[in-house]
């Protein structure tokens, strides 16, 4: 499925959209980490919790549970909090 990567994490992927697979959001993040080592830790902490400045959206809606099932045709957007003004 297509995953949109926020700018601060594009240093790992080299591009703003990538393809990843998995049956749940957690599996997709593991696949991303397999492809781009280290990227998962920038989003998920040691206790497997989403970092507070990272949010996940599947098909345009927020997902707060990493066990959320996802499908091959789903679109995942990873959002990085911004504070600049």
């Amino acid at each position: 499925m297509r995953v949109s990567i926020p700018t601060p994490l594009q240093s790992y992927t080299g591009r703003r959209e990538v393809e990843a697979g998995g049956a749940t959001l957690a599996e997709v993040l593991s696949d991303l980490d397999h492809q781009f080592p280290g990227i998962r830790f920038r989003m998920i902490d040691e206790q497997d919790r989403m970092r507070p400045h990272i949010r996940f959206f599947v098909n345009g809606g927020p997902v707060r549970d990493l066990a959320q099932p996802v499908g091959e045709r789903d679109e995942i957007v990873i959002v990085h909090a911004l504070s600049g003004g």
């Binding site: 700018t7 400045h53 911004l82 003004g85």
Partner: protein, 248 residues
């Protein structure tokens, strides 16, 4: 409205969504703008030009040379001047009919509630999460709409939070626990990006005040100025939000 006002605002009054009644509503409105930097500049200038009657402008800082690349409220002759005072001068030149009230103090959970009380909308144009969460809490408590914008590098985000129970707030989007700021001074920012984001905030503010159109309430608008793409995501109340969730 007198003849001069009818002429000044004529291009706006002719919009069916505004009209004379809408313009009078804007003239009677009071808006708090938090931050007079890159975002606060276009917000304040457009709201003043559009005839929002009273602007409460808040910023503790003074104008620095590094601000002038994007903070178009201020100019080279204002270096070292309090941003609030610089804003007063620019806004008075743009539209002397607008009443501008300044606040130069810190913006915290203690100082914000009296500022938010009695305004019709709050525009968050600040540059740090501590202020953003404090502004959100004050708006949520007072039931005042919050027009939130942020920008850094070449990307921006805009959302409107109604302040009404049942609608999400900023803290439903990002939890209030030590999120680390990325500053424009450390990461850079493309000058017109803050104009794009601030202009969208100003447009949303006018829509909120007028009660017209579909605002960004319950949506997060992502702006990628490098690809020049806009994407809208849906927001929902977070059951774990201390302000809106089950624990609230």
């Amino acid at each position: 409205m007198n003849d001069a006002q009818l002429l000044r605002y004529s291009r706006q009054i002719m919009l069916p969504q505004v009209g004379i009644e809408g313009q009078e509503r804007l003239l009677a409105s009071r808006v708090l703008i938090v931050g007079l930097g890159g975002l606060g500049s276009p917000v304040a200038m457009y709201l003043a030009a559009a005839g929002v009657g009273t602007l409460v402008v808040a910023d503790f800082d003074a104008v620095d040379l590094s601000n002038l690349q994007r903070q178009i409220l201020h100019g080279s002759s204002r270096l070292g001047m309090a941003k609030v005072d610089s804003a007063r001068q620019t806004l008075a030149e743009l539209n002397p009919e607008v009443r501008v009230e300044g606040y130069k103090g810190s913006l915290t959970d203690a100082t914000l509630p009296p500022l938010v009380a009695g305004v019709d909308a709050v525009v968050d144009a600040s540059d740090n999460f501590a202020t953003r969460f404090a502004v959100n809490a004050a708006c949520r408590s007072a039931g005042v709409p919050l027009i939130s914008g942020a920008a850094i590098r070449t990307e921006g985000q805009v959302a409107v939070f109604s302040g009404r129970p049942g609608d999400p707030c900023y803290q439903c989007l990002y939890p209030r626990d030590g999120t680390i700021d990325e500053t424009c001074s450390a990461n850079g920012v493309l000058a017109p990006l803050v104009g794009i984001v601030g202009s969208i905030q100003a447009a949303e503010t006018l829509k909120v005040l007028l009660g017209v159109g579909d605002t960004l309430t319950g949506r997060l608008l992502l702006i990628d100025a490098l690809a020049m793409e806009f994407r809208s995501l849906r927001l929902r109340v977070d059951p774990a939000c201390a302000l809106c969730g089950a624990a609230a």
